[in-house]
């Protein structure tokens, strides 16, 4: 009896060892990334398509922007994703290179009976007032005066925000910070902030879900999530004083004037851009990689994938309601790869 038990234990141990050794070898053949959930829908499409065409497997885990930065700094992934760009000096200190991958918009969504998508008009000040808890009821003078002709209910407003650190929150609070001085003083910009009111939901899907379920709620999500869940979005007054609807056209308008060439480490925030047609809460999502790569072959595989995304990913991005990075910017990024990415001192991208 004892002997059989020992024999079994030995056999199990050997099996476990074999598995433990074989798994990392298998995983090394693919590329791993982690970070922002904001671009996850489009990354998933690109990675699937690229795998079909080339057989190279790229995996991306949407764990949030803060998580993406933490994982790449710990070198547990090959690339990180973040919606909140890192500043030039911070990048150099960490030995990282950052470049924009795709552009998208954040839209406020709401659940008020009788008011259809795009019908609710809000100014930046009122939006900040609602999310900071200064405006508590849907029939508050500040909202009704912007929306004559609609019978807004005497219902309390339930603010829905993200429960975890998020690049979407960063873009949204960055915008409110720019347009409202009281927001700037009391709350500020961050991937996670100290919300004075509301409930927290996890991820873009979580916020969409809560807004759908709670009467009288208002939240903010990446545009694709509003479209997928068929949630009504607000019409927002932009810097030029025009009320605009979110969508690829107004995102494109906001991204068009961006001056990437003079942005250190591509640090550029596209909120509150000028232009009559510009949607005010637009931002690029970024990829982070090490300037000094360990494995030349792997580094080349990775840059080839990003190159393919710039070259052939535009159509797919538009289908998913994102705005592709302009060709001129993609060329700038390629130049950055050639100038700055090295593996053991050798150039990786030519």
């Amino acid at each position: 009896m004892m002997r059989t038990f020992v024999g079994m234990a030995v056999a199990l141990t050997v099996m476990a060892l074999v598995l433990a050794i074989s798994i990392p070898v298998f995983a090394a053949a693919s590329l791993n990334g982690a970070g922002a959930t904001f671009p996850e829908p489009i990354y998933a499409v690109w990675m699937y398509k690229y795998n079909q065409l080339t057989g190279v497997r790229v995996d991306y885990q949407g764990i949030g922007s803060s998580g993406g930065i933490r994982q790449i700094k710990a070198r547990t992934v090959d690339f990180g994703g973040s919606d909140a760009p890192m500043k030039g000096p911070e990048l150099r200190e960490a030995g990282l290179i950052q470049f924009p991958m795709v552009i998208g918009g954040v839209v406020p969504i709401y659940n008020v009976q009788g008011i259809e998508a795009g019908q609710l008009k809000l100014t930046p000040e009122v939006l900040a007032g609602v999310f900071s808890g200064e405006i508590n009821y849907w029939d508050d003078e500040a909202i009704t005066s912007l929306n004559p002709g609609f019978a807004l209910p005497n219902e309390p407003i339930t603010v829905v925000h993200r429960a975890e650190g998020s690049g979407t929150t960063w873009m949204f609070t960055n915008y409110l910070d720019k347009v409202s001085s009281s927001w700037h003083e009391k709350i500020g910009t961050g991937k996670i902030v100290s919300w004075p009111v509301g409930v927290g939901a996890k991820g873009n899907p979580g916020v969409a879900n809560y807004v759908q379920r709670v009467n009288g709620s208002i939240g903010y999500v990446e545009y694709a999530y509003a479209v997928q869940n068929n949630l009504p979005h607000v019409s927002l007054k932009n810097r030029a004083g025009m009320y605009v609807q979110p969508g690829p056209a107004s995102f494109q308008a906001a991204a068009g004037g961006a001056d990437w060439a003079n942005a250190d480490g591509y640090y550029l925030v596209l909120t509150d851009q000028p232009g009559d047609d510009s949607w005010p809460i637009v931002g690029a999502t970024f990829i982070l990689i090490y300037a000094d790569q360990d494995d030349a072959g792997k580094a080349e595989e990775m840059l080839k994938f990003f190159d393919w995304c710039y070259e052939h990913g535009g159509e797919m991005a538009i289908e998913k309601d994102y705005v592709p990075i302009p060709k001129s910017v993609a060329d700038m990024v390629r130049q950055t790869w050639a100038d700055d990415v090295r593996a053991g001192g050798a150039v990786v991208w030519e």
């Binding site: 004892m2 764990i63 949030g64 922007s65 803060s66 998580g67 930065i69 933490r70 219902e155 309390p156 339930t158 429960a163 975890e164 650190g165 998020s166 709350i187 500020g188 910009t189 961050g190 991937k191 996670i192 902030v193 100290s194 919300w195 509301g198 409930v199 927290g200 939901a201 996890k202 879900n209 809560y210 379920r213 709670v214 009467n215 009288g216 709620s217």
Partner: protein, 322 residues
């Protein structure tokens, strides 16, 4: 195999085989396995203390008393999470404990054995449902029910109390407490039922024999005999409610605020960890989350110790009559 075993066993009685070696091996093997538990426990505690050191050095004792949770200003306090953990668990226990004991009494004393088996199976099934399912059901079905029916009802009839004021959102502290009650109910019921079944029939028969009613028999014989076991059952449920994560995260509303109203959103230690751990990039933020975990560890340990003492005290008072 059989032959050789038979051969070994047929050692003549005058020459006993040497059994000390296999026994020693067995002793060491079992000891080593139990040691693993202690090592893991110590390892977890060590890591929690080590990683939370920075937060405790920075905020000191006020970490436990302030309810500020501001990642931008790097200002953290555990009060709102501790409050939410205790309140949601409290709601769960207030509802689940009496209900479970009544159900268990029904199973053992009142119901026909066939009915008892049938409903007993259903209760056990309830215990086997993964907590994420409770969370999904809680958000999609139960929260909607709370919003349209339960909360407006409470607001109209008990709205004078600060507990039931505020907009009915469906999600919030009360919903989380009710979901927790549902989750711990099967555990407390199952253990209480087993405890009550162990009451010797002769005791109950004598009670009926001297003319007790069913209620008197339950009250003065079964519950009295089994009360230590029932306290154990309650603490089992309590421990589960205290650390429950997924289901609570779905319905509690995840907000770091202390509010008198049970309708408003709150959070628990476990839900804060689940939401924010992946995302915490600043060292002090991460350390504060570790400190939260340590606080939860401390709360669990404190209640566990209390339960032990209480059971021991009851044993002393009863004069060890079991």
């Amino acid at each position: 195999m059989t032959d050789s075993t038979a051969e070994k066993l047929s050692v003549p009685p005058g020459a006993p085989r040497d059994q000390s070696r296999p026994d020693a091996l067995f002793k060491w093997l079992t000891a080593a396995c139990s040691l693993v538990v202690i090592v893991i426990m110590a390892g977890i505690l060590f890591e929690l203390v080590r990683n939370s050191g920075m937060a405790f050095r920075e905020f000191g004792f006020s970490f436990l008393t302030t309810d500020s949770w501001n990642p931008i200003l790097s200002d953290f306090g555990a009060a709102s999470s501790v409050y939410g953990t205790l309140v949601s668990t409290g709601i769960a226990m207030i509802i689940a404990v009496p209900l479970s004991i009544i159900i268990a009494i029904y199973f053992v004393e009142v119901a026909h054995p066939k009915v008892s088996r049938l409903i007993g199976g259903a209760v056990e099934l309830l215990a086997a449902i993964p907590s994420i399912i409770y969370g999904m059901w809680g958000l999609f079905v139960f929260a909607a029910l709370m919003q349209t029916h339960v909360q407006p009802f409470l607001g109209t009839h008990l709205g004078a109390l600060p507990l039931f004021q505020g907009p009915p959102m469906g999600i919030g502290m009360l919903t989380a407490g009710l979901i927790l009650a549902l989750m711990v109910l099967p555990f407390i019921t199952a253990v209480t039922r087993d405890v009550l079944m162990m009451v010797p029939p002769v005791l109950k028969e004598s009670a009926y024999g001297v003319g007790s009613t069913m209620w008197e028999t339950v009250r003065f014989v079964s519950l009295k005999y089994g009360r230590r076991g029932i306290v154990g059952a309650v603490f089992l449920g309590f421990g589960r409610a205290l650390g429950e994560t997924m289901a609570v995260t779905f319905v509690i509303g995840n907000s770091h605020r202390i509010s008198a109203s049970l309708f408003s959103a709150g959070n628990t230690i476990a839900s804060s960890l689940a939401n924010e751990f992946n995302e915490a990039s600043e060292p002090i933020y991460l350390s504060s989350l570790f400190a939260l975990a340590l606080v939860l560890f401390g709360i669990t340990l404190a209640f566990q110790t209390m339960a032990h003492h209480w059971v021991a005290r009851m044993q002393r008072l009863e004069g060890g009559d079991r």
